[in-house]
Amino acid sequence: MSEAAAPQSEVFHTEDMTISIGPQHPSTHGVLRFVVRTDGEVIKDAIPDVGYLHRSIEKIGEKCTWHGYVPYTDRADYLAAMFANQGFCMAAEKLGSTEVTRRGEFCRVIACELNRLASHLISVGTFGQDIGAVTPFLHALRERETINDLMEEICGARLTYNYIRIGGVGYDITPETCGKITVFLDHFELIVDEYNRLLSYNKIYIERLVNVAAITKEEAFQYNLVGPNLRACGVKWDIRRDIPYSVYPELDFEIPVGNGEKGTLGDCYDRYWVRIRELEESCKILRQALKMIPKGPAISKVARKFKPPAGEAYVRVEAPRGDMGFYVVSDGSEYPYRVRIRTGSFTAMAIIDKLSRGIMVADLIALIASLDVDAPEIDR
């Protein structure tokens, strides 16, 4: 970007430095680019430049059949693939008025919460690494490996699952796998303490994060921040509790909300802390779901050429990065007319430009990591 240098004073001729963070950078959470104009270490503005990972998933939706589009939704956010699957399938079921079997719903909840654990582990781990603590990242990945193995047992894939189908789930969860998940949960709930001891109460870590880029509730509403970012600002809003779907009304769990105990409400530390607490809550949900799962078929009978009647549906799921909205329009044929995926990371990027005025380059990295933006979600 060619910009005229802005002289700062008459005595010393100083210029702003324009640097480009990314697109190849070890910590931009995917392929992102920021054109940052700094005065030494302090940022004047940071303009995000997205689109490096644009794969036109929305256009592809118009060319694939309803069933055939589900693998594409995996790639909309490959770290939280189950939720995208579920969102699309829920929209299709809403349009086609299809029932989902009860066992299918519980399988969906189990798979989704496992995926939430995996996604939050990566988020917390890479957050630590961006701040400089390299060890928690590897500990987080160690647990995520076990989750990937469990997912492989459930549906055959480690990252892009294609598990949740229209009408239920693709494969049933065997009792053996349920046993292994329980073993994993017993092991995992004690590990969250380790992350706390290593990272959350570390003085250097806290000093890096408190009072950095605090977001107020009004700003969060203006910029439509969702998910843990919104909850860190003090708003107790979770799609699973407030616009309930699937079998979440029957499960008992808390919604962790940021409370600004170490600094301002809504700063980077709150966003990190909400994610750590959500790890514990997901474990609770998983245990309940594993106990309550009924017997029965895992998927209901759905026509091979699925042709929902013409109409539109907007469905929200609580993905790890916020509420993922699926706006699906059908015109009665076996191809969707329009598929629109609204992701939380896209709007989180919009707020970075505003928040980055006046902070330092190191804080910008912390801010991007705390908002947990994810390039595939932004660009789709």
Partner: protein, 398 residues
Amino acid sequence: MQQFVDQLIQQGYFAGLPKEVVYAVAMVLAALVVLSVFVAPLAGVTSWLERRVWARMQSRVGPNRVGPQGILQWIADGIKNLLKEDIIPTAADKVLFPLAPYIVFVGFLCAFVVIPFGGSLIVADLNIGILYLLAVTSIVVVGILMAGWSSNNKWSLLGGMRSAAQIVSYEIPAGLAVLTIVFVAGTMSTQGIIQAQGWAPWDWFLFYSPFTFVAFFLYFTAALAEGNRTPFDIPEAESELVAGYVTEYSGMRFLFFFFAEWGNLYVIGAVATILFLGGWQAPPIPWVTDQPVLKGILQFVVFFIKAYLWVFVSMWVRATLPRVRVDQLMALCWKYMVPLSFVCVIGTAGWMVVWPHGNRWASIAMFIIGVIVLGVFGKRVGFQIRHSRPTLYLKPYI
């Protein structure tokens, strides 16, 4: 070493050659010996050890293929880097860009002149030893700034500037902590400082007075900052600046910077040992200390273990702590460490006025306090180790 060369001249080995020429050749030879026999393998093994120690702390294994337990990994890395293409960016400064790694290397290598390996094994026992050390390790600032600026890359420039600011700032607490010890020892010569201590822990300068105890931690922190190690590794902060001032370097030049960093770890440990931990003073074991060769070996081993312990602690700290932000780093130095180090200096001066030859009871009391501190720390570490969970293997058929 000068006496050794003088002896050889007297015995007529270098008949005819003027003394200066003999000295010059001896110096070059000594440098080569120190470099190739001690420093290069040491830096290499330190790099291997760092990777293994890190890996175990991160519950993985680390390099264990090349040689027994992977101990020859550094040779493989060195050969690989020697064979790489030497890329110099077109817009980089033609003279300064290749020169920068060598200046950094010189700055760190010159420190080995005054670091003793044993009772009489030292390259040159300068009577301004510690001052020379502090001065010569500042040359790396010049090298780093050159690397940052001549790369013609804004990231490198940012990294170089940060590093220069950091190293120059942290010279002051480090130098003042050293000054504390110089007060107590009465000499700046490294051998002199070691000889002023004893082999028993309560004779070390670490426990001499509360002020030297604090000065030790000040010195260690400041030395970590000077060596660009986490938590102060902002100049090469991987996640912010790609690789900081070494971004544009590749191949052997890249490795030179890290060679200097790993070797510098040993220098930090060695200086800490010399000043605070009694250097090579070994307990007088009867059948060993009578013979000069065995005594020399024992002293070398004692010094090496004490110095290398701090290398291990540096790696431990690097694996554990996150990075400090630049303004917090500067605030830490100027607002907290510099006043504290002034307090240490003045306190030590006052201590020496009151007790010119030291107070044995105070030393023993400080030693007991030190043991208690170490005990509490060990208990916390034990707690963490006991409560850590091993990896969960769910698939029995792998």
